[in-house]
């Protein structure tokens, strides 16, 4: 088992991270009331969510000091996840004779 002062330092860190997460959660909700277009709203929300997720991953899940092997596996997963997202959207967006329309506007064939 590790020495107690090290653990106590870690515990302090957890409390600090929790505080940050609480603040970011408030920000998440506040940002939703900003008067911006859907595109920018998505970007802001995702930046905040990614920050929160990264904090949980880095400090609660100890990823910040994890071994290279774990990083490698996660990076590979991320690459495939992003391919699933972006290539699929690309395919839908590139469809012959079909356009993606924003909500509220009546579309043609879909």
């Amino acid at each position: 088992m590790d020495s107690t002062p090290d653990i106590k330092k870690e515990i302090n860190l957890y409390i600090k991270v929790f505080g940050t997460l609480a603040v970011l959660t408030v920000l998440t909700v506040a940002a939703a009331y900003l008067d911006v277009g859907i595109g920018l709203a998505v970007i802001i929300a995702m930046i905040i969510a990614t920050t929160k997720g990264s904090l949980v991953a880095s400090f609660f899940m100890h990823l910040a000091h994890e071994k290279k092997l774990i990083y490698l596996m996660l990076v590979i997963t991320l690459v495939f996840l992003l391919s699933l997202f972006f290539i699929t959207f690309g395919t839908i967006g590139d469809q012959v004779g079909v356009e993606i329309v924003p909500e509220g506007v009546s579309s043609g064939v879909h």
Partner: protein, 197 residues
């Protein structure tokens, strides 16, 4: 000869088996929820009508549940830290809190979100907004239940292992905690996506 590196890490990788195992499992869960999220985006982009999240869902309840899960993430990592300091009593307290908070999350969701929706006939078959809402949050809730079952076992009968193999038990709590944090991270992304955007 039994399977090596179940407790002590393997020198060249620096990891014990279950830690790699759980990260691999989480990688597959990332692909699962990633597929669900990308389906959400595709369905929303392709739908002729969609609802604004905050009109159909309660932002205060969603925010409350977000905080509940974040606090439970803190308590579960504290439970692991307690074991590292050889304090079984503190471990039980923190793990117990984690389980309690998880139950609160589920109860709030079922009592104040699902049931009112069903009574209102806002159900999956009426619009894809509700369909994807119920599927995304429902699958997430199933993962919460799974975590609760696991944590309850490790709080109760599973804790006997502390007496015979304390290091192996501590590793189990670390692994269970990693899963629980992942469930929290999924909600951190779910909440703004469905409730706020």
């Amino acid at each position: 000869m039994e399977v090596p590196y179940t407790v002590k890490p393997r020198p060249d990788t620096g990891l014990y088996n279950a830690k790699i195992g759980v990260w691999l499992f989480l990688a597959s869960e990332v692909m699962l929820f990633g597929a669900l999220f990308s389906s959400y985006i595709l369905l929303r982009m392709g739908a002729s009508t969609w609802y604004v999240g905050s009109e159909k869902l309660s932002v205060p309840i969603g925010t409350f549940n977000t905080m509940v899960l974040i606090v439970s993430s803190v308590t579960v990592v504290m439970s692991w830290a307690a074991l590292r300091m050889n304090d079984l009593k503190k471990y039980k307290m923190y793990m117990g809190l984690t389980i309690l908070l998880g139950l609160v999350f589920l109860l709030v969701k079922v009592l104040f979100e699902y049931i009112p929706k069903i009574e209102h006939h806002d159900v999956p078959s009426t619009h894809n907004f509700y369909a994807i809402y119920f599927v995304l949050t429902g699958l997430h809730a199933i993962h919460v239940i799974g975590g609760l079952v696991l944590n309850a076992y490790l709080w109760g009968p599973g804790a006997k292992m502390w007496e015979t193999e304390p290091e192996r038990f501590t590793n189990r709590i670390e692994v269970a905690g990693l899963y629980w944090h992942f469930v929290d991270i999924v909600w951190i992304f779910l909440f703004p996506t469905i409730y706020l955007l």
